[in-house]
């Protein structure tokens, strides 16, 4: 099956490894991701004021271009892009008046006809492929790996665009089980990583990373698995920074789910881009004999 793919800025730059490992996985599953033409930055973080339509232009333009290409669905890897696109889609679905204003403003573009669905790649794996089928493709189960699934915010909230239950999500835990890993559950799995404060308030974000990762470690985890590039940077990189703030603290490796699926399917490790991580994720994979 060919799927129209919306990349966003981050997977093309600082989170290339999410894209390369995701592409390797989808190819191995027999599908094809086709990058959409003329995509633009989604202008990440949904506009939250009632009177502000301007910041819905960028996401809407992407939806229009998907529609132009005759597609009813776009797939994204990035949680924050997915959330932003979904929230704009919802806003225009709910308000014909808002949609008219936006369509009229973008008079160089076709009118948006509300036919596009935005899907997170995790939803595609759960709903269209199925974790049971994914399990059958596992050649090297992640046996003995104790992993905390970390959800963060943007795939779960607000509930109108969530891909799972906001308080007790299970999509990542179910995925981990299908890969043969042991799931380590902690209440911090749905807590914010510190988000964009990582730029101006490093210590604050390092503290968030410490809270989340240390709760995982206390519960017995030797790694964290997540999906969002913002969370990945904060838990991996700011988590490493936290080592200098908290005596004796050591950051554990942080994997994208696409990387762990690729490893469990026995795909080429080069596609995982592990050298871009701050905490080296390879030794644990070796220790557990996954590679």
């Amino acid at each position: 099956m060919d799927l129209l793919y919306y990349p966003g800025c981050t997977v093309k730059t600082s989170a290339k490894c999410l894209e390369t490992s995701g592409f390797a996985v989808i190819k191995a599953l027999g599908h094809n991701l086709v990058e959409m033409e003329e995509w633009n930055c989604c202008g990440v973080v949904a506009s939250l004021t009632d009177d502000d339509l301007m910041h819905h232009l960028a996401p809407l333009r992407n939806l229009i271009h998907a529609e132009d290409q005759g597609q009813e669905k776009i797939v994204t890897f990035c949680d924050m892009c997915g959330n932003t696109l979904k929230q704009t889609n919802l806003r225009v679905q709910e308000s014909e008046e808002n949609l008219d204003t936006l369509n009229n403003f973008m008079d160089q573009e076709e009118d948006y006809k509300k036919s596009v669905d935005v899907q997170h790649f995790l939803e595609f794996l759960r709903d269209d492929v199925g974790f049971a089928k994914l399990k059958k493709s596992v050649k090297k189960p992640l046996k003995g790996m104790k992993i905390m699934p970390y959800y963060g915010c943007t795939m779960l909230r607000p509930r109108e665009v969530a891909i799972d239950d906001a308080e007790e999500p299970r999509i990542l835990a179910d995925l981990l089980k299908s890969l043969g890993a042991e799931v380590i559950d902690t209440p911090y799995k749905i807590e914010c990583c510190g988000s964009y404060h990582t730029i101006e308030q490093k210590d604050l974000t390092a503290k968030r990373a410490y809270r989340i990762s240390s709760s995982a470690q206390k519960a017995g985890a030797d790694a964290i698995m997540l999906s969002c590039p913002m969370c990945k940077f904060n838990l991996d990189h700011r988590g490493k920074d936290a080592e200098s703030l908290y005596d004796g603290y050591k950051q554990i490796p942080v994997y994208y789910y696409t990387q762990l699926i690729a490893m469990a399917m026995g795909l080429d490790i080069e596609e995982c881009g592990f050298d871009s991580h701050t905490v080296d994720p390879i030794p644990l994979l070796k220790e557990k004999k996954v590679i």
Partner: protein
């Protein structure tokens, strides 16, 4: 541990320039149509907020300030610490979207040409590593 961005003196000066013709609740109406006056003051929002330790006003106190028309809420650190995680909005028993209220309060300030971002602390090495979504989010949240 909290670092406050921007120059506080400049901010105070800018805030004083904001004309006060309406009550805060009225001013918020076009930005965020939420039923603040239905707030129980139960504190559920504060209990789940990940930045509560760094905040000078708790989220329920922010609502209280709006109800009482106390404009000093606009000078609080809290509204800039809120990273729109939506936890409070998800849990509020009165279905008040506090996430939206925080954004509306930030917008009152930002729409008066106040710029809250200070990137001088970023090293060249980090510039390459920090995800683009972090920069775009920060600019969207902190620049008018």
């Amino acid at each position: 541990m909290t670092e406050v961005s921007g120059n506080e003196c400049r901010e105070k000066h800018e805030l004083e320039k904001i004309r006060i013709d309406h009550s805060l609740a009225e001013e918020l109406k076009d930005l965020c149509e939420e039923e603040f006056f239905g707030c129980y003051q139960c504190g559920t929002c504060a209990a789940g907020c990940p930045f509560i330790e760094e905040m000078d006003l708790t989220p329920d106190e922010v609502i209280r300030h709006v109800i009482m028309d106390k404009r000093e809420v606009l000078s609080s650190k809290t509204i800039w610490l809120c990273a729109s995680c939506y936890t409070c909005a998800e849990r509020c028993p009165r279905d008040i979207n506090i996430t939206k209220l925080m954004e509306a309060l930030r917008q009152i300030i930002l729409r008066n040409s106040v710029d809250k971002t200070d990137m001088s602390c970023i090293t060249d090495e980090e510039l390459k590593k920090i995800p683009q979504i972090a920069f775009v989010s920060l600019f969207r949240k902190n620049i008018g």
